[in-house]
């Protein structure tokens, strides 16, 4: 059996956050119901097909959007159909994303019963004013309650997302959030820098000068500080924005970064199987229509050339603390025996940005902070 990961996208939210440019729309009862029916049908078909190709399920991830705006019974049914339509690996990781404002202990219990063994909570901040600044609808109290509830129903594999660089947020406030969450015994944390994506209300506010973004110095400080603080609690940075106790890394996300194979189901989901990437119709109703009519909902695709694969390996691998195996770095396919990447790699090593050990090339802590620039230098 060859393991594979499956991602399922729930494109609904209660309201859209001010910084969000993901595929999501406000939840509406009928749309959600129709969408979940389509997903159910699609998952059953696609996973059975994977099974027939000798694949087993290594990780399952239900993300969004906000999966927990879907009625718990529907989410539980979706989990059940997935876990019963194809063989699953004994150590399967089943993650559901949840927003603190949309879960109750009962919801979490049902997800747990249906097979979820990992929960990712969109906490973002433990300051209500900052949550408001982001357009989030939950409060810090609700976040703490969600953690308590998750623990109560047996989710020990629990992760929380935090955002730094929120207008009005001081680096100290961010550090306090990190400590507060770590003290609650979470084995996994993600800390993302706020990005001002094109077309979002937050971007417009920044461009119009209505809000002052955090200074680059402070952002860099937060980035470095997260590493130090969480290490005190036994959580190591294993990716640019992700921290875990050894063994508690998110294996689903590692699949993306290690260029493993995955199938994406639902609107706007991406897949990567057999050297081909493709993505589904972005609009939820288009997806529903296609599934109902039994036609393809694929919106676009690309064959990954050896050159693409090489670029991806560097781009993704350098984000990981484990780095990239040197044999993938032998240079772009068709290149010469002495790939120019060696001289670039050497120069980056001299500048203290890259390190070479155990046959792997990886960014130093200093290099991680400028990972995009290093990546660009290596692939150019």
């Amino acid at each position: 059996m060859r393991p594979i990961s499956v991602y399922i996208h729930i494109p609904f939210c209660r309201t859209k956050c001010l910084y969000c440019d993901f595929a999501s729309v406000p939840a509406n009862h009928d749309s959600v119901a129709a969408y979940m029916r389509a997903l159910h049908t699609d998952a059953e078909r696609q996973l059975a097909s994977l099974a027939s190709q000798g694949r087993s399920l290594a990780t399952l991830y239900i993300g969004g959007g906000t999966p927990t705006v879907v009625p718990p019974a529907d989410l539980a049914a979706l989990l059940t159909v997935c876990l019963n339509s194809m063989p699953v690996e004994p150590d399967i990781e089943v993650t559901v994303e949840a927003n603190p404002g949309t879960v109750t202990r009962d919801t979490l219990a049902r997800l747990r019963d249906a097979g979820a063994n990992r929960l990712s909570l969109g906490v973002q901040s433990l300051s209500d004013d900052l949550l408001q600044a982001l357009g989030r609808t939950h409060t810090a109290t609700q976040a703490h309650q969600a953690i308590t509830d998750a623990h109560a129903v047996g989710f020990s594999d629990l992760s929380a997302d935090l955002i730094y660089g929120i207008p009005g947020q001081s680096p100290d406030r961010f550090e306090a959030d990190l400590r507060e969450l770590a003290r609650r015994g979470l084995p996994h944390l993600s800390a993302y820098a706020l990005t001002y994506e094109e077309g979002t209300p937050l971007r417009r506010a920044r461009d119009a000068g209505r809000i002052a973004p955090m200074s680059e110095e402070d952002e860099a400080w937060c980035f470095a500080r997260a590493g130090h603080v969480l290490a005190e609690y036994g959580l190591d940075r294993y990716e640019v924005s992700n921290f875990a106790r050894p063994g508690a890394e998110c294996r689903h996300n590692l699949t993306y970064w290690r260029r493993g194979e995955y199938l994406g189901l639902g609107a706007a989901a991406h897949s990567f199987i057999a050297g081909r990437r493709w993505w589904n119709a972005r609009q939820h109703d288009d997806y529903v229509r296609c599934v109902t009519d039994g036609v393809s909902y694929q919106e676009g695709s690309e064959e990954i050339t050896p050159e693409n694969a090489w670029t991806e390996a560097i781009m993704l691998g350098l984000r990981l603390r484990e780095g990239i195996a040197l044999d993938t770095l032998e240079g772009p396919p068709g290149g010469t025996a002495e790939p120019p990447i060696w001289s670039k790699g050497y120069s980056l090593q001299q500048r203290g940005l890259l390190e070479l050990a155990d046959g792997r090339l990886r960014l130093t802590t200093k290099g991680l902070l400028v990972a995009d620039a290093v990546t660009l230098e290596l692939v150019s």
Binding site: F223, S241, T311, L353, L376
Partner: protein, 609 residues
């Protein structure tokens, strides 16, 4: 080229031949009118008709201007029942190519002077008109675009009378776009343009343009002024001295159609196994090698480059490709000159000379587009004549070679006579502009109480610096410019060097006026601060004259450069972003550890207002 078996009906007599061109300000509709004349006379079958048939290069179509001259032969049956042969010669439409225009005019007896009905007479209209008068051409004024809502036919007629002294009753009204007035234009050419004078001996042909064909070599576009020329004849280029055996002569029908011979008064082409454009130069006279004419036709000169810049491959290993591309381009463009140059900052490259800014832009674009070269072009500059303390004089076409002050006695720089045409209300701002640019007021003409022509003597170097854009913006797009060289004048200039992190970058040196040196240096340094990409280290930018720093700025390093999120499973999006950045990086040149984008060189020439 068409099969040599094609035969061409020759006009029975010279009286049935007319040679003419169209002259106009840019955008006044020259190419469109030419298209209509071709259509009307059936010179181009409809199915072959493309917009602006005469503008053949992609670049010409895109920019809407003619760069190379070309010619076409039209058969027109006039009202007297006779079928006339009309040779239409298209002229380049830009001041950079004034010499080529003058050779075209010399090949004609008449000119259609095209004026846009809403724009009226412009600077280039006047310049072209004066040039046509110099060549004793019969001028037929044509007011075009009469269908447009903004057309002011009566006013423009008055302008034609006041500013050009032409009889408004002689004006032909057209809309080339709508095909109005096409036949009237053709009839006017027959009625008013005199037939060519035909002298039997000796052979003298004017080369008014040439082009390079990879199979046939140079194709000369010629006007036979006297005598006749045919295949097999041995001819000599009177200025460059080479002798060649004529392989083919023929006419533009359009397309090259071989003919048995060309007689005095004919316009056509000549192929003689010439391998290089420089052996068959525009303006030269072709004569019979055995019975040469005693004197060549007047007006020949070698087009002198007036604007120079360094051309460097962004990737040093591309040097050979760039050299090959320049070689190929020169086959087609005798006005382009270049020689090898080495820059400490940019490595191996070339110093190239051009007829003007437009010519420079065209060459750069063609190098990138047709030959796929990734280029860095340094800021354009003029040639300075520097008189040295040892009594010698040198021409400096590369700012980084400009001698230090202690070795200089005096410097001279090229000047132009600039003619600026503008509606009256913008005279103030434009005079201010010319004053700022060290212009010397020479003259001012008022026409019809609305339009004014300003005449200034200006250093050519000042015209390279953002002048045309400024002229357009200060006149809300209504001002127009034409200029001609008038020799050199004393120049009070110094070399400003730019240092990045303490190291001089020779390719960024510029020659600036001494009185404004501090101001310009501060301006340039602060502009560079905005165009040089941030790095992981601090970049110190300094402007220095003679080793003394007079302006400085710094670019702070970035502290953090990593995108927090990786878009989940959407790897494609992130990879495409990276590939785009990678492509952008290809267009930068590494100098030491600093990346210099093309923009940095152009920013040297911008001015703050």
């Amino acid at each position: 080229m068409d099969a040599p078996t094609a035969t061409v009906e020759k006009p029975r007599t010279r009286a049935l031949v007319r040679n003419f061109c169209i002259i106009a300000h840019i955008d006044h509709g020259k190419s469109t009118l030419a298209d209509r004349l071709l259509e009307f006379t059936g010179a181009v079958p409809d199915r072959q008709m493309r917009e602006q048939v005469l503008d053949q290069m992609d670049l010409e179509r895109e920019r809407g201007i003619t760069i190379k001259a070309s010619a076409v032969r039209l058969e027109y049956t006039a009202r007297d029942g006779e079928t006339y042969t009309l040779n239409l010669i298209d002229t380049p439409g830009h001041v950079d190519f004034a010499y080529e225009v003058s050779r075209t005019l010399a090949a004609c007896e008449g000119a259609l002077l095209l004026v846009d009905a809403s724009q009226g007479v412009e600077a280039q209209t006047i310049a072209n008109f004066l040039m046509a008068l110099e060549h004793n051409l019969t001028i037929i004024p044509v007011i075009n675009k009469i269908d447009l809502p903004g057309a002011r036919i009566d006013e423009v007629k008055e302008q034609i009378l006041d500013e050009l002294g032409l009889d408004p009753d002689d004006v032909v009204l057209t809309s080339a776009k709508e095909g109005i007035g096409t036949e009237e234009v053709l009839q006017a050419v027959v009625d008013r343009v005199p037939p060519p004078v035909s002298d039997e001996e000796p052979l003298r042909c004017l080369i008014f343009d040439s082009t390079f064909d990879p199979h046939r070599g140079v194709i000369g576009f010629i006007r036979v002024v006297s005598g006749s020329v045919r295949a097999g004849q041995i001819v000599r280029m009177m200025a460059t001295g080479g002798s060649f055996r004529v392989e083919t002569v023929g006419i533009f029908a359009p397309g090259l159609v071989p003919a048995r011979e060309l007689l005095a008064g004919d316009v056509g082409f000549l192929v003689a196994g010439v391998k290089r454009l420089s052996d068959m130069r525009v303006g030269d006279t072709v004569t019979d090698a055995h019975h040469p004419a005693p004197e060549p036709l007047p007006g020949y000169k070698v087009a002198q480059p007036v604007v120079f810049c360094g051309l460097y491959p962004t990737d040093n290993s591309e040097y050979d490709n760039l050299r090959d591309a320049l070689e190929k381009l020169q086959l087609n463009d005798a006005a382009l000159s270049y020689e090898k140059e080495t820059s400490e900052a940019l490595g191996f490259g070339f110093r190239a000379g051009f007829l003007g800014l437009l010519h420079m832009e065209i060459v750069q674009e063609r190098l990138e587009r047709e030959y796929g070269s990734n280029l860095i072009a340094t800021a354009p500059n003029v040639v300075y004549r520097v008189h040295l303390t040892d009594g010698s004089a040198v021409d400096i076409d590369n700012p980084s070679l400009f001698p230090t002050a202690d070795r200089i006695v005096r410097v001279e720089e090229p000047y132009v006579l600039a003619r600026i045409s503008t509606p009256e209300e913008y005279v103030g701002p434009l005079m201010e502009l010319c004053g700022d640019r060290r212009g010397v007021f020479s003259n001012m003409h008022y026409h019809d109480g609305q339009r004014v022509t300003l005449v200034y003597e200006l250093p050519l170097a000042e015209i390279l610096v953002d002048f045309f854009d400024q002229l357009k913006s200060r006149s809300r797009g209504y001002g127009s410019l034409d200029y001609e060289p008038i020799g050199v004048r004393p120049a009070n200039v110094v070399r400003l060097d730019i240092w990045l992190n303490g190291d001089p970058v020779d390719a960024l040196s510029v020659i600036i006026h001494r009185d404004r040196a501090y101001e310009r240096a501060r301006d340039i340094v602060s502009r560079l601060k905005h165009v040089l990409p941030r790095q992981q280290f601090r970049i110190q930018i300094q402007g220095a004259i003679g080793g003394r720093v007079i302006a400085a700025a710094a670019i702070s390093p970035y502290r953090k450069n990593v995108l927090a999120k990786c878009y989940g499973g959407d790897i494609t999006r992130k990879r495409k972003l990276l590939e785009k950045q990678k492509a952008g990086k290809k267009r930068m040149k590494m100098v030491g550890s600093v990346e210099i984008p093309q923009e940095a060189f152009m920013t040297l020439l911008k001015l703050d207002d």
